[in-house]
Amino acid sequence: MNPRPKLDKIAALALVACLLVVAGEAVAYSGGSFEYSSSAAFGTDSVSYNVNVSGAKTYSALLTGGSIPCSHLYIYDDETYEKHYPSVRDSGVGRKNQGFAIDQISKSLNIRGFSGIEICGGSALAQRMSADLADGTASSKGLLVLSYAMPVSIYAGSPDGILMKWITAGGKLYWSGGNIGKYYTEGEELKTVDGNQELFFGKLCVNTGKDVSAYTKIDGNGVTDALTLKHNSTKFGIDIGGLADAVSFGYSGNGYASIASVKHGEGSICVIAGDYNYNQRDDIAQIVASGISWKSEIIKIDNGTAGKGSNSYSMTVPPGSGKLCLYISVGGTYIVHGGASIGP
């Protein structure tokens, strides 16, 4: 009888260690290992919703009335970003890798169930916005600007440009590019606008100072927690004090807010303060995907832990709450899923 072969402990340890790593690789890339989804159904006086998770996760459900997410978001890709950046550096605008930021924000929006994204250069954007104005669809559109300047075909510092008309007609502007409307590009030149703040908000309210710290959570409306907003800078953020029809979220310092939404005509201007980073990326995605704005009436916020599997919940809806939107996000500080459901 042959003696039993001796186990090579070192080889066995190596094989186990390698196989565990490869198992992790399979989990990371196989798809189906982690699954998160949500859905909602609106009744006459209630909304029932479902959160499906492959493992326990915190979730929050934000029910709002009066404002729904835009169905289509333009993201402006400024072809002249690098060229003119040295001219604005001293104003405090942080340099960003615009292409990378656009890619990251698009993916973050996708996670939150938002897919109507169109990345546009200057001329394409001007065409789209003109068409929106012509066919009256600006109110269902959004525009995200990450650059410090817009092309003259869209904005030249006056109220009769496409941008201002588009917002007035109901478009949602999400601005995260420094001092809003301070610059525009014309040909090879970068031009400066005087009175940009008055044009957008009717008064001076943009934080152009050095102190950009924001250590106080804006929690009066519960949105900061419901959307787990994280970015706490007020650089080029606005102070909504004295502004009618305005709301702020996130964090504040010296009166300025990290995120603020202000009425302009029929539309809205949402200023997301600070330089780009992954916290700001997530905040932009949460704000856009949830459709939250100055118009939103916070009806109810639910949060808790969804256990592994399917979890059903419901909320009562007071009558006359207007157009409803239920935005569910899963994962808390580290969002793995989001989704908006629009009511009747």
Binding site: I10, A11, C18, V27, A28, F34, G55, I111, G331, T333
Partner: protein
């Protein structure tokens, strides 16, 4: 019948053995630290990495993971186990009350995060590192015995790893995964000793794709394989086996990134270390500018040391090989580096202590203390998770203590900066001590026949 190296006639006698007691002590002290202290700045990134994976973007689709993929795969595996069996619903929280500590961030020296991962998250995702620490301890035990050491010496080697303040703190407080890289590096060495070249090549790829530093041992490993098989002329064939193992493992590990076009992102770690932030202090910018030439120099030195090793006749090839590896790594880390990198060096210091010159003990002490001081310089911030989750420490107290450490104390330097400088000096002294003993006590450091 010859019993194996881990004989235990009964459970009682096994438990009473120093081998077990060392493991027990190492585990207990780690578990306490794993719960109590945490470096949130890095664990926040691990939580982000897991969330990005769970959201379907793999390791590199969304920003948050800057390393080669092995650690990400480990996180992925433990995330799936966690979902299946544990139910940790909260990964972390952005704590408004401590946002002010992030203002101390200065691009390199102070790394504070107000996003704090939860205690259970911290504990669970440190478990793979704990297991690796134990496996490394066992490998040191095996290597010492393999080179002719007795049980007492082997257990001492294991104890010097498992009870080393540096390795304890890096794994259980700093949350850095260097121990995984150490595990695969030592496995590579042990497998080559056992002439399992293909598998040795595989584990080397795993080591390299965990952290890049074991890559600097490439020439020494080649020299060892060729030297070992010089007699029978099979050196190049054996080297080919190892290379085949390496290539296969590399391909398997990198396949997702090759297919989804994020291959370049897997090396962000390298560019991040050589293109420091514009706002970083002068010394850090200087460091980033000199990093590439320095590491190229180390690679060249590694080639020279390997050639010397290859050409020379050795009384004990394996021990000389280990010492040559140690020499390459000490050169590598003489360039100012964070303490977690030093973890890769510690097994070689331990081996040198046990088989070479007792003076290497000074190096072990200095490196252990230096690394521990550097990590603990993060002072009260290490208690954030514990304070937030238990409520036993007021968050205001934490921010107050953190601010005290930031106040200028001497020559405009803050207490924290002075502690960092002290830790850095200790660490450098530890490295120079090793180099000094290596150069002056060469004959003594030739391992036993």
């Amino acid at each position: 019948m010859v019993r194996d190296s881990l004989p235990f006639r009964s459970a009682a006698s096994f438990v009473a053995r120093p081998f077990f007691l060392v493991i027990l002590a190492g585990v207990i002290v780690r578990i306490i630290a794993m719960f109590l202290l945490n470096f949130d700045f890095d664990s926040n990134y691990w939580a982000m990495t897991i969330a990005n994976m769970q959201a379907g973007h793999g390791l590199y689709g969304l920003e948050g993971y800057y390393y080669t993929p092995v650690w990400g795969y480990v996180l992925s595996l433990f995330a799936s186990l966690q979902e299946a069996f544990l139910g940790i619903d909260v990964f972390g929280t952005r704590i408004a009350e401590i946002l002010s500590i992030e203002a101390y961030y200065n691009g390199g020296t102070y790394l504070f995060s107000a996003t704090s991962t939860s205690m259970w998250f911290n504990f669970w995702f440190k478990v793979p590192m704990l297991l690796c620490d134990l496996a490394v301890g066992y490998l040191i035990y095996w290597l010492v015995k393999n080179r002719g050491g007795d049980e007492k010496k082997a257990v001492l080697g294991m104890a010097l790893w498992l009870l080393c303040p540096l390795t304890i703190i890096i794994m259980s407080v700093s949350v850095m995964f260097d121990t995984i890289s150490v595990l695969f590096t030592l496995l590579t060495i042990a497998l080559l000793f056992k002439e399992r070249y293909f598998l040795g090549g595989v584990t080397f790829a795993f080591a390299l794709l965990t952290k890049f530093f074991p890559g600097f041992l490439l020439f020494v490993l080649i020299a060892y394989i060729l030297s070992k098989n010089r007699g029978d002329g099979t050196g190049y064939r054996k080297l080919a086996y190892a290379m085949a193992g390496f290539a296969a493992a590399f391909l398997i590990l990198m396949l997702p990134q090759i297919l989804d076009g994020t291959f370049a992102e897997t090396f962000t770690f390298l560019s991040a270390r050589t293109s420091s932030a514009e706002n970083a202090p002068f010394l850090y910018r200087l460091q980033s500018l000199t990093a590439v030439p320095y590491f190229l120099g180390v690679l060249l030195a590694s080639l020279v040391l390997s050639l010397r090793f290859f050409r020379k006749e050795h009384k004990d090839l394996e021990s000389s090989f280990i010492m040559t590896c140690g020499a390459v790594i000490v050169l590598l880390f003489m360039y100012p580096c964070p303490p977690q990198y030093i973890v890769l060096f510690m097994p070689f210091v331990i081996f040198a202590m046990l088989f070479g010159d007792r003076r290497y003990m000074r190096s072990w002490i200095l490196l252990s203390l230096g690394g521990a001081v550097l990590i603990l310089s993060n002072n009260a911030s290490l208690l954030t998770s514990f304070a937030y989750d238990t409520g036993w420490i007021r968050l205001e107290s934490l921010t107050y203590v953190i601010s005290l450490f930031q106040h200028p104390l001497f020559l405009g330097l803050s207490t924290e900066m002075l502690i960092i400088l002290a830790g850095t000096v200790l660490q450098l002294l530890g490295l120079f001590t090793f180099a000094h003993v290596y150069l002056t006590g060469k004959k003594k450091s030739e391992a036993p026949a």
